[in-house]
Symmetry: C4
Subunit: 193 residues, 4 copies
């Protein structure tokens, strides 16, 4: 079974997720620049989530690049990842509209954590299906970035009830860690050639 | 006529259906975790429908994999299937917002039943167009899964007026039956090679 | 310049148009089956528009099948067609919510007329770019279906102010005329081979 | 790394942006033709933005046509461009609903300016990755159109606080300048062959 439709479907879902988030940015009624001010937290959380979804698309792209055979388990691991990503617009809206209050900020981190776990699971399933010579395994290696992110989310979620600025800072930090695309896969593929 | 655009269009429509369902999960106004509680039934019905749409995408993928020639009749059978799937976000929202009340739960089953019939019709049309040596026919065989699902929907719809838990349980059961992708097609294709 | 991206972009836009129309079918608040009754006109206009968009996708598919070179003029003719199709959800919602009142029913026909003219213009531009041996020209021939539709729309629009049932009947009639995919193109292509 | 998924993802996002704008055209409650009148400014701003997004899709199409290798930097430059384009529905709605008032008209120009800068940045990054023999560099040349647009936006933004008609006129003018697809790239590619 080819991976073309898996890529096309994932591209479609991710494209819609990244775009419908902007619908939470409700057009204000006044014509004054001041009417935009209450939208600032919603806008900031939109920017953060846009970057996160962009990172997932980017890495998803790289991960499938190192995958040749698509099994039924991979299809469902992919749908599981898309499920958690599909909740990002909801938690983005809740966090933005409540000006980064404690519970919404924690839930935002929880959805990011679940998406990261879903990504990690999908990665394990692809590696297992590729056998001992797995190209993806070589590329991912010890997966330092992945483990660090999980740890940081686990700190940021409870921290939201104590300092939302700290949680927010951690979310920005994780995004920065991943902003560089996964060069490990490109390197491993070049080495394989 | 090729099947590339048929796949691309179906992928697009299914990707949008699966993603706009999350728009029914309206961002609550309070910042309390308690503000999420009323959303629980909507969330649960979202999860169920996400799995159903995922199953349809998965099986649609397999069915077209075993199809080579796309006729006008197949194009319309496909649009007919997409029509019933496009109603899933509506019935999901109605069922969720009314906490699995009788009529919405029955209508949810009715839309699932019509989608299943549309899928079955498309399958028959593809098999008919492939002639006696149909690869899809061999793969589908007696279509035990398909027939069982139709029967279960026919039980679940009237049951909703007596016990919504029973109907809900049946919907979950049908999803579980299909969660395993259609190995029959993969097996038949391997045998054909 | 290839036509792959033109097809992919058009498929995306048409897939979104056909799917967001269902958002006009607002989830009713009551749990009674009677709560669905006021939605009936919206539902009926949704079905009609779904069929129309399906017909356009289908014929667009066939028209591009008979096109090899994509020029700048074709790109803009395509965007022009997508523009009028993008207004279909709006007029569908207006007509449905006002129970097929005179002005909304006439406007619905006007948008269909403009979409038909845009389709016809795109067809002319493709034929002109293909020269005297145009495959599409042979396929389209005298374009009886196209001319009949334009005429019927021109009758249905003013008729809406006199009898909306007549206008609605004409819209259904035009849809039935086109429901059969454009066999002329398939035939001409087979003859060309 | 191939450019197929980059194109598919961009097509998806741009298709959604161009289509969800129409959701700002809220279905009016009355059935009178007069009920449409207040929608006129929203409709006009929708037409303008539709043309702008169409131009971006068109030129994006041409730019990637002259690109062979996709690097991580190009992926992020593309996401940056999509980010600014994703704000177009929001500013279109704000400008339309406030009947082209000063601040919304200026903000509309600001988002167009940022999108133009993002496009220009992406162009620079592709040219840099292609080396001294860059096909895109030859095609773009002195980039007169791009520089003129940036200058015109810089005039139109402050002008909005003095005469919105002037700003609007400049936005229409820039659209007209670009409406002709980028023949330079087609010419340079033909010369290269």
């Amino acid at each position: 079974m080819g991976k073309t439709r898996l890529e096309a479907f994932s591209d479609g879902v991710i494209a819609i997720i990244i775009t419908i988030m902007v619908l939470e940015l409700k057009v204000p009624h006044g014509e004054n620049p001041a009417a935009l001010l209450p939208l600032l937290p919603v806008f900031l959380s939109y920017v953060l989530s846009f970057v996160y979804i962009g990172i997932y698309w980017n890495n998803h792209h790289h991960m499938l690049h190192a995958t040749h055979k698509v099994t039924g388990a991979i299809l469902w691991a992919n749908l599981h990842l898309l499920f958690w990503l599909s909740l990002v617009p909801f938690v983005t809206g809740w966090m933005g509209e409540n000006h980064f209050a404690a519970a919404p900020t924690a839930l935002y981190g929880f959805v990011l954590l679940m998406a990261a776990l879903a990504y990690w699971t999908m990665q394990r399933i692809i590696i297992a299906s590729q056998g001992p010579e797995s190209l993806l395994k070589k590329a991912v290696g010890g997966d330092r970035k992945g483990k660090t992110s999980l740890l940081l989310y686990l700190v940021a979620i409870p921290a939201a009830f104590w300092s939302q600025a700290l949680s927010g800072g951690i979310y920005v930090l994780v995004a920065l860690i991943w902003l560089v695309p996964d060069k490990r896969i490109e390197r491993a593929m070049r080495a394989a050639e």
